[in-house]
């Protein structure tokens, strides 16, 4: 293999977006070492700038004629571009949210941003990797940075508890996942790239082998942990409640999106023989997530815990798109994740804003907020109603697209269940809106009575304002003006060879 050939095979240009994030990360580490805390805030703006550059690089990679790189270990097809963009966007918004939050807790900001960027890097690589070792390394990069961020408030015992729980459960699920993919390695006769594995397995055994099913189950267990699908969700509420809120925002959007990217790629590419089995398992996961997430969220008193259960339920909706496995199904997943990014991050920005001003997170403490802070009330209401799927907000269009795709594919039961559970979800989202808007001045909670006057000129508040506004505007307009988003979602699926192959196989079977 001569040098030129090798360069073409490596095709290193595909990881330019990751490269930019990596350089930003190094710049922050070095800058923090040299200048110390004095420029920490500027460094975080630098990080946001780096992420935006990376986003631009991603946009330029759209419709890349040569997506396969690193001798088949990495792919920059439109699907991976879309998921990487979701991860990058969520990281950028999370940094904007975290500046004043981290500063107020008295921990080092630059290090936090550095860890977050590492997690972003892991998530981005995970969205595009097509090889087992690559998948595992990027998964661990994402996971380990997440454990670190979860425990970042080291003086807060709840944060420590959350980190330990997350670490223990995460480590065991990684082990299970690793065992699953090691079976794949063996079954395929020593292949590591996903396509070769599929070919190897198909060649090795004509009929269905037990080993493949066992490997499938273990792999799904690992993935389900990442996307916190019931019954692998037990860590979610505790970790969400204890962790710093910006971390929760990233975990619920960026990390989850990366998990879904992994799920699609790994399951669709490596397990075509057992497609019915994994569809069945994911149907069960989706049903359990929607029912349990929505029902348990009804009883929550802590806002973050409520959002935690709500994110479990939302993941259930997204899984419908995966289970039906049609072209519109995958497109609806991508679309929903985009919309979910805006509304969930918007909601978390509002929660952070409220926590910064009052120091509490109980839902009942929000009562009467309308009188004191109409802007925050409006933003949080819009984001929550959108999560509940009220038209004409973005969330409604996301849900209706999934339902429409599911219905067309004949998954009536799932869609009807999703309809019923989203009616349930309106109730708990609206409960918060009711607390804020409906309560009389005399029913105002004590913390709201002492609510400080809004001052956006405090350090770090501007960026939080930007994050909130971005969430608010995107959530209210992304539904009405959603045609570009629909185009992106549909193109990302129709231009991805791996998904096309799978869709065609399904059509052929039918």
């Amino acid at each position: 293999m001569d040098f030129n050939n090798l360069v073409t095979q490596l095709n290193a240009g595909t990881i330019l977006p990751e490269g930019i994030v990596l350089i930003t990360l190094l710049g922050i580490l070095v800058g923090d070492l040299i200048f110390g805390r004095s420029i920490a805030r500027n460094l975080s703006y630098f990080a946001v700038g780096g992420l935006v550059c990376s986003l631009v690089a991603l946009i330029l990679q759209w419709d890349n004629p040569q997506p396969v790189s690193f001798i088949g270990a990495y792919s920059s097809d439109p699907l991976s571009v879309v998921f990487r963009a979701i991860v990058v966007l969520s990281a950028a918004v999370t940094i904007l949210m975290s500046i004043s939050y981290v500063e107020q807790t008295g921990t080092a900001l630059a290090e936090f941003v550095a860890i977050l960027l590492t997690a972003t890097l892991g998530g981005m690589f995970l969205s595009g990797s097509t090889e087992l070792v690559m998948i595992f390394v990027s998964l661990e990069t994402l996971s380990i940075s997440s454990y670190l961020m979860t425990g970042y408030m080291k003086r807060d015992p709840r944060s420590n508890e959350a980190a330990l729980k997350y670490l223990l459960i995460g480590a065991s699920s990684s082990a299970v996942f690793l065992y699953g993919i090691s079976l794949l390695y063996g079954l395929s006769g020593g292949e590591t790239t996903l396509e070769a594995i599929a070919r190897g397995i198909a060649g090795a055994s004509g009929s269905l082998s037990l080993g493949l099913v066992v490997s499938l189950v273990f792999t799904i267990a690992g993935i389900a942990f990442k996307i916190s699908a019931v019954p692998f969700h037990q860590w979610t509420p505790d970790v969400y409640e204890g962790s710093p809120t910006p971390v929760v925002a990233f975990l619920s959007v960026g990390s989850k999106a990366a998990g879904f990217a992994l799920a699609i790629r790994l399951l669709v590419t490596a397990f075509p023989q057992v497609i019915e089995q994994w569809h069945f398992v994911f149907t069960a996961l989706a049903i359990l997530s929607m029912v349990l997430g929505n029902v348990v969220a009804l009883a929550q008193t802590s806002m973050k815990r409520m959002l935690g259960y709500s994110s479990i339920a939302q993941a259930g909706f997204v899984m419908i798109g995966m289970v039906i496995g049609t072209e519109t199904g995958y497109a609806s997943m991508v679309f929903y994740l985009f919309v979910y990014l805006f509304m969930n991050l918007g909601a978390f920005a509002c929660v952070i804003l409220f926590t910064l001003r009052t120091g509490t997170d109980r839902i009942s403490d929000y009562s009467g907020l309308y009188q004191k802070d109409p802007f925050l009330t409006l933003s949080l209401s819009i984001c929550l109603l959108s999560l509940g799927g009220i038209p004409p907000l973005a969330g409604f269009f996301g849900k209706i697209y999934i339902f429409w795709a599911g219905w067309k594919a004949g998954a009536y039961g799932l869609v009807l269940l999703a309809l019923v559970t989203s009616v349930v979800s309106i109730y708990y989202y609206l409960r918060v809106v009711k607390m804020m808007v409906v309560k009389e001045p005399n029913e105002m909670s004590d913390v709201v009575k002492n609510y400080p006057a809004t001052n956006w000129n405090l350090p770090g508040m501007r960026s939080l304002q930007v994050a909130t506004l971005a969430g608010l505007i995107a959530t209210s307009l992304a539904g009405i003006l959603s045609n570009p988003l629909f185009t992106i979602a549909n193109d990302s699926v129709s231009n991805t060879p791996m998904l096309q192959a799978s869709v065609q196989r399904q059509v052929a079977v039918k």
């Binding site: 009220i390 269009f397 339902f403 219905w407 009616v423 309106i426 609206l430 009711k434």
Partner: protein
């Protein structure tokens, strides 16, 4: 042309929310502008054309098959006009010192836009979007400015309506998928090709959804609570316009999309109508609270519309249209009057109130209007209620004789409970607990007077309502229904 009916109130809502003062003036101006535009549309409406008029058509989201299609025909135009009128009445009759005026008026305007959207939408998904859009403003309007148990009533309203929305969406999704369509455009031909069993299934889901909203027994329990707890202007809108969303939906979608299945279901629906009519009337007799009584009378009177829809002859459809407008005007009048009585006497209990018609210390004008309103509701000739009920019975009798006779008992019962109300609260001597009433101002009388004049006017000239809808109805039901044919044999 039609988008203005949606855009103006929506922009007005934002304006009312953001402008620091004169909110009430802004809201009234917007409402008047909407009325003005409705009148303009009425003058431009081509009576001889049964099809959709002023149609607007843009593709909105291709991937979903959602298009922005508006249009108005004889079925929707009278209801659009009713919505514009009652929104202004609600704004005018709102308390001038209401708390949080900016939120209040902007929610009312938003509600107006959403309801207009429901009546104008020619795309099933667009209809659903507008139908759901009305949910949150109305929930907040009940929950913030309501009475003692408003939180309970508003939540109950929310759950029922959200469920009804989910059922309607399920039916629409089902229709689009089973019909093999890639869009949600309103297309009667779509359902024709389906086997009757599938049509019945979809129709059942749709009926359940609209039945909750309408409301029909046994899904009506949210209505008395919501009405009693909502403030007067909101009750006016709720009874006057929002219940019509469901009856309009039944005429437009249930009958319009599934005519074959509808013929099969019609006898059962007429029985359902009787149950609703009689149950509502009997419950109304048992009420002590005037507002609750009017609320149960709504349950009873909406049942007539189902009877007329089940008969599905051109005449019965015209009758249903008149009944919708008539119920909108009459129940709005009654709620306004009950609101005035409550405001002055601080009670709505007909066992406490007495002699309010007293010409000197009572409220003679309000009392007289109440008597007229009650007579109209009970179907006394000369008022629009009579025309509506008479036409319904006249047109349904050849098809469902027994059911129609039983429903007629309902009208008799209407007279019973309203006579009880009038007799106890307005006749007799002014009782001790309600002495020294504040004088009723002209402002409080105007809205009810305007509506009463309309009630009498349309009672004398019912053709002014039917002329809008007759061509459309004739075109919708151009084939004589099978049931009629079998009876004729």
């Amino acid at each position: 042309m039609l988008s203005i009916l949606l855009v103006v109130p929506a922009v007005g809502a934002i304006l009312a929310a953001c402008w620091p003062s004169h909110t009430r003036t802004i809201a009234s101006t917007i409402a008047l502008a909407v009325i003005g535009w409705t009148v303009f549309l009425l003058t431009q409406f081509d009576l001889s054309n049964p099809a959709m008029q002023f149609a607007e058509n843009f593709t909105w989201i291709d991937a979903l098959g959602l298009s922005y299609r508006l249009g108005v025909d004889g079925l929707s135009l009278p209801l659009v006009a009713l919505n514009s009128l009652l929104t202004w009445v609600a704004i005018y009759s709102s308390n001038e010192q209401i708390e949080r005026p900016r939120l209040y008026y902007s929610l009312i305007l938003l509600l107006n836009a959403a309801v207009s959207g429901v009546f104008l939408a020619q795309d099933l998904l667009l209809f659903f979007i507008a139908y759901e859009l009305e949910l949150i403003p109305l929930y907040l309007l009940i929950a913030i400015w309501g009475g003692q148990k408003r939180a309970y009533a508003a939540t109950k309203f929310l759950i029922y309506t959200a469920l009804s929305g989910a059922l309607i969406l399920a039916a629409f999704l089902g229709l689009a998928w089973l019909g093999g369509s890639n869009s949600f455009i309103y297309n009667p031909a779509l359902a024709h090709a389906l086997p009757v069993s599938q049509q019945l299934l979809l129709l059942g889901t749709l009926l359940l959804g609209f039945g909750i909203k309408m409301p029909l027994f046994p899904f009506h329990t949210w209505l008395p609570d919501a009405h009693v707890e909502a403030s007067t202007p909101i009750s006016v809108l709720l009874a006057g316009v929002l219940l019509k969303l469901a009856t309009y939906g039944i005429l437009r979608f249930c009958v319009g999309l599934f005519p074959d299945a509808w013929q099969i279901a019609a006898p059962w629906l007429s029985v359902w109508a009787i149950v609703s009519v009689l149950y509502g009337a009997l419950m109304a007799i048992a009420q002590k609270d005037m507002k609750k009584m009017v609320a149960y009378s709504s349950v009873s009177h909406m049942g007539y519309i189902l009877l007329a829809a089940a008969a599905s002859t051109p005449l019965s459809f015209s009758a249903a249209m008149i009944q919708m407008v008539s119920h909108g005007l009459i129940s709005a009048t009654l709620f306004l009057l009950v609101g005035v009585v409550y405001q002055k006497t601080k009670t709505r209990d007909i066992n406490i109130l007495e002699g309010l018609l007293n010409p000197e210390r009572g409220m003679p004008v309000i009392g007289s209007l109440m008597v007229v309103g009650v007579m109209a509701s009970a179907g006394i000739p000369g008022m629009v209620g009579f025309v509506a009920e008479f036409l319904i019975f006249r047109s349904s009798f050849p098809i469902f004789p027994v059911q129609t006779l039983l429903c007629m008992v309902g009208t008799g019962l209407t007279a019973v409970y309203y006579l009880l109300l009038i007799n106890k609260a307005f006749f007799g001597r002014l009782s001790a607990p309600v002495q020294n009433l504040e004088a009723v101002t002209w402002r409080e009388r105007y809205p009810a007077m305007i509506l009463t004049i309309a009630v009498v006017l349309f009672g004398l000239q019912p053709g002014w309502i039917t002329r809008w809808s007759e061509p459309t109805i004739a075109a919708t039901l151009h084939q004589p229904p099978a049931v009629v044919a079998s009876v004729a044999k």
